[in-house]
């Protein structure tokens, strides 16, 4: 999947000459936590987050509350030249960027202009969608030996039961690297027949265990 397919295109922005007060208002009204700052031709010149603002304004507990601080211009507190993304970037790639750079949002720029935004929350939601967790289904986890062909052997059982698989994840077994764990979301309320048949094929179905105990 590419960024273009998931980015928000309706982006709230301010310019460097706006005040902290403007930023607070805009963020509160639209329930957002990140504001790209653009210049008069729509290029991204900075970014302001709710955290930048919290750091800039004095704590309520301090005696000498200086109201002028709210009039400070955004250019004084914004992060200049932030990391940006492109509409054709792969979602997996930008996920790595979020993680490595520890950022909360990524302005998406094309032709020198801001065209969209992706936040950490959007990314997480997309991940949930990709795992199929928003569609009714049962989850089945299977421990299989790490050799070619096992995914086929297990998915053959779903085929035999005419069960629709919503998603598949493969990840290493943390306990034993000779194994892998396959996680299926299957569109069925009654996975008992499937589980029985996977077990008959000789695989371990981890379903469910007493938390923290393994069988």
């Amino acid at each position: 999947m590419i960024v273009e397919q998931m980015m928000k295109t309706n982006v709230f922005t301010l310019q460097p000459s706006h005040s902290i007060k403007d930023a607070i208002t805009l963020m509160q009204e639209n329930k957002i936590r990140h504001l790209p700052i653009t210049n008069e031709i729509g290029s991204v010149v900075g970014i302001v987050t709710d955290r930048d603002i919290k750091e800039a304004i004095p704590s309520y507990l301090m005696e000498d509350q200086n109201q002028d601080i709210y009039e400070t211009k955004i250019k004084e507190i914004m992060t200049k030249n932030p990391i940006i993304g492109h509409p054709l970037d792969f979602v997996e790639e930008i996920a790595t960027t979020f993680y490595d750079q520890q950022i909360g949002c990524l302005p998406i720029v094309s032709g020198g202009k801001l065209v969209g935004i992706v936040t950490e929350t959007d990314l997480l939601y997309k991940y949930i969608e990709l795992t199929g967790a928003h569609q009714p289904g049962s989850q089945i986890e299977v421990r299989v030996p790490n050799r070619p062909g096992t995914l086929f052997e297990v998915s053959k059982v779903f085929h035999d039961h005419k069960s629709n698989v919503l998603s598949v994840l493969v990840y290493p077994d943390l306990v034993n690297n000779e194994n892998k764990i396959l996680v299926f979301r299957v569109k069925t309320m009654n996975p008992l027949g499937i589980i029985e048949d996977i077990r008959k094929e000789g695989f371990d179905v981890l379903w469910p265990n007493i938390p923290g105990m393994t069988n």
């Binding site: 009714p136 049962s138 989850q139 005419k162 009654n190």
Partner: protein
């Protein structure tokens, strides 16, 4: 308790909506959803002398207009055609029927519309003050969606009934679902509606169908704050289940102030249920209806409609659980000790498992749970999160 005195005299105490035609909702001989449990329950109640012919009301069939209150006309049309054998599975699969969960069967439209009609019959009895309480054990098909079948449910009787109550009686409805699965179909039908409050307590979607019902699902738009979810851990036992149920139900009813309460009484949170992983016992089914009954009198002049739901151990669990529900509805003292011998004798020969001969479950039904305290503690956190937005915040530090 002077609950049913004075002008209630003309009114029936409670009605039992039932006919054997409800057994027409049948996918196959081997399908886990088996309405034979209605016969087993009805027979058990009769043998207890807890149910007489005068209590029974025949369910009507819901009309197309009524079904369309909560369902897409295209979907109803597909079900009707499939019902007559005019559709193949490949044509209907995108509507959730003709699947392994919800196969096509002859007359499935009529059978499904009859279950909905039963719940509407129950609604009319209660809302027209002909009875204080009404029970339709054939209903409770909470997974049915607006435009497709899901999880053994074709039409969603509760969703239709709530829309019907809103339209015909202009009442505020509180729907509470204690089935082990999330009441997703009903929740999504009223997710943006501030005048319907849905509560679902269920095993988390970690493994269990349908996977939704997270504590953060609270409704949206104007309906924000009127959907409540209490996802509890696999292996949860009676005490923790009941603690969440009782606290949430009372606090939410106090906050929402319903005119009528609908309870969905799936009996699949029991330890013996083959499809789920909760560790409930008959204690749950003794306590759940008690509070519903009490709150219906406290908040709604008694208006309480109860429907069935899941329940896949039809021999050992469902008949006892649902009998307790009916007896509570009638203010009967809940039975202790043995089940009627005639009932056990009659059904043991058909049952593939040894029946449980007593009303309560035997001690040591299962091995003790190693991490009980942590599970209880985690469920408690879920409760606090679910109710956070209706509790006064200053109580927090």
């Amino acid at each position: 308790m002077a609950k049913h005195t004075g002008n209630d005299k003309l009114k029936k105490h409670a009605v039992y909506v039932y006919s054997e035609e409800q057994l027409g909702y049948k996918f196959s001989e081997t399908h886990p959803f088996n309405q034979k449990r209605l016969i087993l329950t009805t027979d058990l109640l009769r043998k207890m002398n807890a149910l007489s012919d005068q209590d029974i009301v025949i369910p009507r069939i819901a009309t197309d207009d009524e079904l369309l209150l909560a369902h897409d006309p295209r979907y109803v049309d597909i079900v009707k055609k499939a019902s007559k054998g005019l559709m193949t599975s490949s044509q209907t699969e995108s509507f959730g029927i003709g699947t392994e969960d919800t196969p096509i069967f002859p007359n499935m439209h009529e059978a499904s519309a009859r279950l909905v009609g039963g719940t509407l019959t129950a609604v009319d009895y209660v809302m027209e003050n002909k009875a204080l309480h009404a029970l339709n054990l054939g209903g409770g098909l909470h997974h049915g969606f607006h435009g497709r079948a899901s999880g053994f449910c074709i039409y969603n009787d509760s969703s239709v009934a709530i829309k019907y109550i809103q339209q015909k009686y202009k009442a505020r409805v509180l729907y509470i679902d204690t089935d082990a699965h999330h009441g997703d179909g009903v929740q999504w039908s009223f997710y943006e509606d501030p005048d319907v409050c849905t509560i679902s307590i269920h095993e988390t979607g970690r493994y269990l169908f349908p996977g939704t019902g997270n504590v953060t699902e609270r409704g949206s738009g104007l309906g924000y704050g009127t959907s409540f979810n209490l996802p509890i851990d696999a292996f949860t036992e009676d005490e923790s289940f009941l603690d969440l149920y009782m606290t949430a139900f009372r606090e939410i009813a106090t906050h929402f102030k319903p005119d009528v309460i609908i309870t969905q009484n799936g009996a699949d949170a029991h330890y013996l249920d083959p499809l789920t992983h909760l560790y409930g016992t008959m204690k749950l089914y003794q306590e759940i209806p008690k509070l519903a009954h009490q709150l219906a009198h406290e908040f709604c002049d008694g208006k309480w409609i109860a429907v069935g739901g899941g329940g896949y151990d039809i021999w050992r669990v469902v008949p006892r659980a649902w009998s307790l529900l009916w007896m509570e509805m009638n203010d009967m003292e809940l039975p202790q000790g043995k089940l009627p011998k005639e009932w056990l004798d009659q059904w043991q020969k058909d049952s593939p498992v040894q029946l449980i001969p007593t009303w309560m479950d035997p001690e040591n039904l299962y091995e003790p749970i190693p991490r009980k305290e942590e599970i209880t503690e985690k469920n408690k956190q879920v409760l606090d999160k679910a109710l956070y937005h209706i509790r006064p915040h200053y109580e927090k530090e």
